[in-house]
Each structure stands twice: as structure tokens, then as C-alpha cells.
């Protein structure tokens, strides 16, 4: 316990030489001191842990309390009416004495739901196929590089997805899908320049697919080998074994992956701000397929785009209202994912938001 030649040792030796019996005594004292120190360390670690988990409540408290004035002033019409851009300019220009509290976030909320749903529709089938390929079908030689690729895709910063989307996907949509006539026809509704809901869906699906692949592949890989063996030994083909045995067993993990991917999609700000046109326009189904070509904006990218409005109290509160919607949605999704997988691990490489 006490290292040889240490001061404690020599002290003990010295006291022994003096004819008393302090050796036992010394050990007891240091043991007590040590146990106090140990308890102190445990308390300190515990304090840090509490701080970590209290953080989410702090965030909720601050964000929502800052949003309350706007939510109170508008009530349900905050959710069910449009005109965000106009309201924002009014509030920004309002004279100091009479602030303008009128905001309507319907296009932003609907836009967030549209992009998320569209991205999931593209990403889920594709990602599931990829996860099956990765865990069950791909040649052994391809597996490692593919795993690294998925991890890298998850780690590519969102601003790079945005840049590539803006300079590849958006021009492609503008050239291939939008004719001059169509643009002229829509000129009174919105400008069609390629920055659109469709571009947002495509870029967003590319961003969430690696996360979903990683989680779905984990879930498939975690299916106990004995189920696969039992099914194969019954003479069921490999593909049917995947479809009827492995996917059902991995269902919860895959579901959790989908929910987490949805959470990521809802909260994505930068890439969408770059490719969706940054107009609080609500794409209308009445325009037929042009719906997908209209510019729009999500809750998260609104915070980025309107950040300069933060110095005006009303604008600030409105942006906090956007943030509180995002926060609540993501917390609910996280809890659902946890419920689905019984606390599945989060994976996804060194990704930025």
C-alpha cells in the first residue's frame, strides 16, 4: 500500500523506532483520508454527470421561455397562418415604441415536414437496401471499404452537402425541369430558379442516408446468428431468410434508426438554407408537380437566414419560437427512438449539423 522508501514509510519506521505502535494508527488515518478523497471524487464526477443531463432542461427552459411572448401574442395562428417574411420585415422596421408581435410560421412548419418526409421517402428504402447489402450480400472484399465510405459520408460537413447541392443539384433542376414558360407562368407566385423543395429533399436524403444505413446495418448485424441458421437449415433461401426472419427481428433497431434520421432531417439548417431558396413560401399542391419546384424554407434554416434580426426583441422571440418547435420535435423523436430500441447507441461518425 505504502510505496517503499516513501516519506510515509520512513515516518512509520521512525515512529516504530521510537518504541510506540503508530504503524497501524497511520494506516487507519490515511485510510480515512483516502475514503474522504474517494467520496469527494465520486461527488465531483456525479456533479458533472448531473450537469450533463440537466443541460437539456436548461436548453428547454431558456429557448421556450424566450419564445413565450410570441406564442402568447399569436396563439394558434402562429402555427396556422402564413406571411412570415412580411411579418419579419414589419417587426424589424417597427419603431421602438410599438413593436410588431404578429408572426405566422405555417410555411416554415409545413416546409420542415415536407423536406423531412421527402428525404425519408428517398432515404429509407435506399438505406435499407444498402444496409442489407452491407451486412448480408456484399463480397467480403467490398465490405470494409463500404463501411468506411458510409462512415465518411456521415462525417461530411453539412455545408459541403449544401455547396455541392447548390452547384450541382440546383442547376440540374433548373436546366432539366424548369422551362422558361413555366417560370413565367409562376412569376406571380414565386421565382423558379432551381432552388426548391425538390433540391432540399434530394440533398437532405443524401445527408441522412448514411446515419440510417449505419444504424440499420448495426441492427441487422445484431440479429442472433441462430435465427439465420435455423431458417437456412429449414431450406429457406437466403433472400427469404433476410425478408422473413432477419428484418422482423431487427425491426426495432431499424425503426429507431429511421426515427433518429428523421430527427437529423428536421434539425438540418445550413444545407437546406443553401438549396431551398430561402423564401418563406408554402409550396402548394394545387400547382401540381410544380409543387416540388417551388422555393421554400424550413424552421431550422429560418434561424440561420434571419439571424441578423436577433437584435430586435420581437424578431428574436420569433426565432426562439422556431427553435422551440424544433427542440420539442427532436426531443419527442429521441424519446421514441429510445423507446423503440431500448436505448440504442448513436453512431454516425464525425458529422456536423
Amino acid at each position: 500500500m505504502v510505496p517503499e522508501g516513501s516519506p510515509a514509510q520512513t515516518a512509520v519506521a521512525g515512529k516504530l523506532a521510537a518504541g510506540k505502535e503508530p504503524a497501524f494508527q497511520t494506516v487507519v488515518v490515511s485510510a480515512r483520508r483516502r475514503s474522504i478523497k474517494e467520496a469527494g471524487i465520486e461527488k465531483a464526477l456525479f456533479a458533472f454527470t448531473i450537469l450533463s443531463s440537466i443541460l437539456i432542461f436548461l436548453i428547454m427552459f431558456f429557448v421556450i421561455s424566450k419564445a413565450i411572448p410570441v406564442l402568447q401574442a399569436n396563439g394558434f395562428s402562429f402555427v396556422f397562418s402564413g406571411g412570415w417574411d412580411e411579418h419579419f420585415v414589419n417587426a424589424w422596421l417597427a419603431p421602438a415604441g410599438e413593436p410588431s408581435w404578429r408572426f405566422g410560421a405555417l410555411p416554415l412548419i409545413a416546409g420542415t415536414l415536407y423536406t423531412t418526409a421527402g428525404a425519408l421517402l428517398i432515404a429509407l428504402p435506399f438505406g435499407l437496401g444498402c444496409a442489407i447489402f452491407l451486412t448480408e450480400l456484399c463480397p467480403a472484399r467490398l465490405r470494409k471499404p463500404l463501411e468506411s465510405t458510409v462512415r465518411l459520408l456521415a462525417a461530411i460537413p453539412s455545408v459541403i452537402y449544401g455547396l455541392v447541392g447548390l452547384l450541382v443539384v440546383v442547376p440540374l433542376i433548373a436546366d432539366q425541369l424548369i422551362s422558361n414558360e413555366l417560370a413565367l407562368q409562376m412569376i406571380n407566385v414565386c421565382a423558379l430558379d432551381g432552388t426548391s423543395l425538390l433540391a432540399g429533399m434530394i440533398v437532405l436524403s443524401m445527408m441522412i442516408v448514411p446515419i440510417f444505413i449505419a444504424l440499420a446495418a448495426d441492427a441487422l448485424a445484431a440479429v442472433p446468428r441462430r435465427y439465420k441458421e435455423a431458417s437456412l437449415a429449414l431450406g429457406v433461401s437466403h433472400w427469404r431468410t433476410i425478408v422473413k426472419v432477419m428484418l422482423p427481428v431487427a425491426r426495432n433497431g431499424i425503426l429507431a434508426g429511421a426515427i433518429l434520421a428523421a430527427g437529423r432531417a428536421i434539425g438540418e439548417a445550413i444545407a437546406l438554407s443553401m438549396v431551398t431558396g430561402s423564401v418563406a413560401n408554402l409550396p402548394s399542391v394545387r400547382h401540381g408537380l410544380v409543387f416540388f419546384l417551388e422555393p421554400m424554407r424550413t424552421l431550422a434554416s429560418t434561424i440561420i437566414d434571419n439571424a441578423e434580426g436577433m437584435s430586435v426583441a420581437t424578431c428574436e422571440a420569433a426565432l426562439f419560437a422556431c427553435a422551440s418547435f424544433l427542440l420539442v420535435a427532436c426531443i419527442i423523436l429521441s424519446l421514441f427512438a429510445r423507446l423503440a430500441a431500448g436505448g440504442i447507441q448513436r453512431k454516425g461518425g464525425a458529422a456536423g449539423g
Partner: protein
Amino acid sequence: MQQTGITGAGRNATGIGNNPNNSKIMVQDISSWYGAQPVLKEVSMPIHAKSITGLIGPSGCGKSTFLRCLNRLNDLVRSFRLQGTITLDGEDIYHPDADVVLVRRKVGMVFQHPNPFPMSVFDNVAFGVREHNRQIKKRELEEIVVESLQKANLWEEVKDKLQASGLSLSGGQQQRLCIARVLAVMPEVILLDEPCSSLDPVSTAKIEELLLQLKNSYTVVVVTHNLGQARRISDYLGFFLDGRLVEYGAAAEVITNPREKATEDYLAGNFG
């Protein structure tokens, strides 16, 4: 390829008629490796129809690997290699043209640890049948399930809880459920890999009794760790040591009068 293949083969071709030695499976000179590691060395043995062949030997001797060669379940291991031939009713199961799925339908397997699917008791038994014949009528399916559960001596215990999860049964019941699941797809050969190693003595006795019934209609191969069990149930016995088949013959012969010193030592309990 779906249904006709299996029932046709399952009911008619027992293999006795066209094989004078009465052997269902012939294993000739097989050697196998996991990567560079040899597992089986030049093993040859017949497996006789409608009888129980026991495989014994110390752990790591290759008997489970041997068993998994018989239904090509070793194909799952990427580094696995095999030399030599194994024929089922005279047809090489490792032939490039052989249909591995069909082989596994004919050669069913029960595993060391009971592994029912996380589905209901009924669905566990029905799973393979539905997969092999997706147009099957509900009543037919029910008949097969009931019959299989009866054959597996499980019907009386589960008839009131067919919709309960297969995982809710006791260990011994789960293992019999796995046997019923195999019986339902009407195989010709049933492989069992230490089926009783994780069960209590009562459940073990029930399984042994079941196997003795089954040998009247099926060819059964059992890997076992338990010499008493090997004595009680097998008609033929093979003794494996270090990947070689040291001794093979009629069970009574091998047990009472082993030819090899190693077999004698093993039976005497000197190792393993």
C-alpha cells in the same frame, strides 16, 4: 421448384431401394479447413437410412463441423473449404449445380441451443411450410402444424397456447418445438447437434424417446457429448478425434468391443 420438388422427394425417394448398402448419405474422403486450419481429415462414412447414427468425441474434434457439412451450413463461414464428396441419395450435394436450398429442405437440423424464432408457437412451426408453399390453404397448414407438434410429443403441452411466443416455453419444450419445426417441412434426414446439452434430465429423456420414435420414418444423425445417450439411442456410432474418424460401426460393437485403443480410452472416460 417450390412445392413439387419437396413433397416428391420427401415422400417417395427414401433411398433404400436404389442403394444396396441401405445408406442414405455417403461421405467419401472429406477434408475441410477454416482458413488454413484443418478441421476434418479424410473422413469417410455411410449414414444409414431410418436409423440413428451417433457421433461422439472430445470437444473440438470436428464432429459438429462434420454435421454441418451434411446440410452445407458451413457455407455461411467465408473461410470454409471442403474436399471430397458427400452424396445424398447418390447425388453430390457439393456439386456446383446442386441446389443448396433443396439440400437443406431434405436435411433438417436441430441446434445445440434451442433457437425458436421470436414468433408464436404456431408460426414457428408454420414458418418453413409457408415459405416452401406460399399458396398453402389455411386448413392444410393447420393440419401440418398439429401433426408436427404431435410427432414432436409437444402437442399436449402447447395446444392451449399456440399463439404464445415460442420463447415463452421451457428449454426442453423449445427444443421439441425446434424439432417440430423441422418435421413440418418433411425432411428425409434430421441432424441434431448436441440437442440435449442445455436441457435438464427429464427433458433429455423426452427428447431421446422422441428420437427413437422418429427413426422409424427418418434418418437421424446425432452429435452428442453424453456417452450414456449415445449408448441408449444410437444404432451406429462414429468416434471422432482430432478431425479424424477413428472408429465407426454398429453401436453395440463399438461400445462393447472397440477396435482402437483411443476409442477404448475415450469410452472408459480417460479423456474428453
